[in-house]
């Protein structure tokens, strides 16, 4: 087991800098999820840790040792690929044993490790099969098994669940969680799916266009997004982000809807401020009883998800999405009064997208 750290790492492909100077520290035994939209450089970062790509500048350390010049095979890490990368001409058993044979472990030890991993992953009956004779979920398990038997210092996962159907994905998510609890191996998990990030991470690292936007525990990031990008990316459905104007001690959005600025932010807020409220933080109230801002909301359409319903509509000319109980959804065309939960309105500097801080 080991900690992993990146210091001022950049990556350039030709003239295209896909990773801007990055500093990342991953603790021993921690499960860190790197999450961000496609093309933001997650895989590249993971491959730099694995040694499959070279960092253009900066330093990578695993277990305190500088590994920039170390071959992938000598970094003592295991990686699970999105397409699983199983060796198609080898049986499940041989796929798992491959790395151990190369490391010249005694064959009794190899068998023991393979059997143990097969037991954990319920692959016992399939050890003699070839990968093409397995279902997607089983292949995924073999890929995990190949990583586990190595007993490496760290696991690297590159979107390992994105080729599975929705149900299997949930199941594998739970299994990965369980596995990490029992093995406690340092893990770096890359995904574009914020639900995976929220559910798996001890800490998550939200990436955007080659930079790290925010690092933190999932709930911290959800509660305190550092930028409009993070606010919009983490949480589903996404946070309502409405551009507004500074007026006196508040921010006006649409035509005359005013959100009062907390005292601490009044000195930092400039002319253009974006107001953010999560759909689940807008509550339906009766007119007149509202202390803070009251939104006169008109429902345009209703999406029923079962437990919840999403109301799409507008207040004072600005669009909002609101989440309500599935059985208490109004009809399209209805008018409601909404108020944000106290302390759940976020203010961002519009030009930079950064959260306003007191």
């Amino acid at each position: 087991m080991a900690d992993i750290s990146l210091h001022a790492v950049t990556k350039r492909f030709g003239d295209n800098e896909v990773l801007h100077p990055l500093d990342v520290a991953i603790g021993d035994g921690e499960f860190v999820v790197m999450v961000g939209p496609s093309g933001c450089g997650k895989s590249t970062l993971l491959r730099i840790i694995a040694g499959l790509e070279e960092a253009t500048t900066g330093e990578v350390r695993i277990g305190g040792r500088r590994v920039n010049e170390v071959e992938p095979k000598d970094r003592n890490i295991a990686m699970v690929f999105q397409n699983y990368a199983l060796y198609p001409h080898m049986s499940v058993r041989d796929n798992m044993a491959y790395g151990l044979k190369i490391r010249k472990l005694p064959s009794a030890e190899i068998d023991a490790r393979v059997e143990r991993a097969a037991g954990i992953l319920e692959l016992g009956p399939y050890l003699a099969r070839k990968p093409r004779e397995l279902s997607g979920g089983q292949r995924q398990r073999v890929a995990m098994g190949r990583a586990i038997v190595r007993e490496p210092a760290a696991f690297l996962f590159d979107e390992p669940l994105s080729n599975l159907d929705a149900k299997l994905r949930v199941q594998m998510r739970l299994e990965i969680q369980k596995l990490h609890r029992s093995l406690g191996t340092t893990s770096v998990f890359v995904t574009h799916d914020q639900v995976e990030a929220m559910t798996l991470a001890d800490r998550m690292l939200v990436m955007n266009a080659g930079t790290v936007e925010q690092v933190g525990a999932p709930l911290t990031v959800y509660d305190d997004p550092a930028s409009t990008f993070v606010a919009g990316f983490i949480g589903s459905p996404a946070m309502n982000l409405v551009p507004g104007r500074r007026v006196g001690d508040g921010v006006e959005v649409g035509s005359g809807l005013e959100f009062p600025l907390p005292e601490a932010l009044r000195s930092t807020a400039r002319a253009a401020v974006t107001v953010g409220v999560r759909p689940e933080h807008l509550v339906v109230s009766s007119a007149g009883s509202v202390a803070g801002p009251a939104l006169a909301f008109r429902v345009d359409s209703v999406e029923s998800l079962g437990a919840d319903s999403l109301l799409h509509g507008s207040a004072a000319g600005a669009s909002f999405v609101v989440r309500v109980d599935g059985h208490q959804a109004p009809q399209p065309g209805a008018s409601l009064t909404l108020s944000p939960k106290p302390g759940r309105v976020y203010f961002f500097d519009t030009p930079s997208g950064r959260r306003l801080a007191g």
Partner: protein, 293 residues
């Protein structure tokens, strides 16, 4: 949905395939039939009289020291051509797969030899290696090698093998390169992380995954060495010296045309036909199923 084209008139489809059928009949079935026919007859030296002899021509063939020698020569020749052709082409394809810059120029250069006719390749190498004037012979002599393939059988064999391999490499190279590029990069990366160095990755991952390509090329190259190398031999050694490069195909021509032994030559053709049919069956049987992995 009916995927086949349906013709309304009954004779049009036959008319459309008639040229192909005619060509096959005139240039393949008729000579093949004739070869089988003549293989049962003995002709006199002037070609005026012929006499039915049953299987005597075949019996004669397998007693003849020169025919048995030709079988040995063919075995050596086709083994060398196939093994060298595949090995060199695979090495070049692995190199080409690895490089990014200048890859196109490199590939184009390697593909050119395929556009050269066998006989031209033969003449080219005959000149390069000509004992008295060839530039390579000059270099070899400079290095103290007694180079004279006109007199030395093993050198003559080496020459025809090199000329054939040179021409065949392009074809093998293209297939190997395509095969290599079809192997997902992540497999190689997974093996690298699993601890395999480049050599082990090649032998445990790349080479097994290339086996369908390798098997296909193996059959194609054997067939080529057996049947398509007349031009190279004729342009260089003409089977000599003393039959050292007289492969079966060349002997058919030599005995039939030069020595006017029509019956013996026909019997040899029939044997060759049996071999090519056997190879084709092997190819279809295994290529259809692919090599299993």
């Amino acid at each position: 949905m009916e995927k086949r084209v349906v013709f309304r008139s009954s004779w049009l489809p036959y008319l459309l395939v008639a040229p192909q059928i005619a060509i096959t009949v005139v240039f393949f079935f008729w000579p093949a039939f004739q070869a089988v026919f003549y293989s049962f007859f003995l002709q006199d030296a002037f070609g005026t009289q012929s006499q039915f002899v049953g299987l005597a021509n075949f019996a004669e063939l397998f007693r003849s020291e020169s025919y048995l020698n030709s079988i040995r020569v063919t075995a050596v020749f086709s083994t060398l051509v196939t093994v060298m052709g595949l090995a060199v082409a695979l090495a070049l394809a692995v190199a080409a797969d690895g490089i990014l810059r200048g890859a196109l120029a490199y590939k184009t250069l390697l593909i050119w030899p395929y556009a050269v006719a066998s006989a031209v390749a033969g003449v080219l190498f005959a000149f390069l290696f000509a004992p008295s004037v060839g530039i390579i012979s000059y270099v070899l002599r400079g290095m103290g090698v007694d180079w004279n393939w006109v007199l030395r059988g093993e050198q003559a064999m080496l020459l025809v093998v090199i000329a054939t391999v040179w021409k065949q490499i392009s074809y093998n190279f293209l297939f190997f390169l395509a095969g290599l590029q079809a192997i997902p990069r992540s497999l190689i990366e997974a093996a690298a992380i699993d601890g395999a160095g480049p050599v082990r990755r090649f032998w445990t991952i790349v080479f097994p995954l290339l086996s369908p390509t390798t098997f296909f090329l193996l059959v194609v190259n054997i067939v080529h060495a057996f049947f398509d190398t007349f031009g190279v031999i004729d342009a260089t050694t003409q089977g000599g010296p003393a039959g050292a490069t007289q492969i079966l195909v060349y002997k058919v021509y030599y005995d039939g045309v030069k020595a006017a032994d029509l019956g013996g030559s026909s019997a040899q053709s029939v044997v060759l036909m049996a071999i090519v049919i056997a190879l084709t069956v092997v190819q279809f049987r295994y290529i259809e199923r692919r090599v299993q992995y």
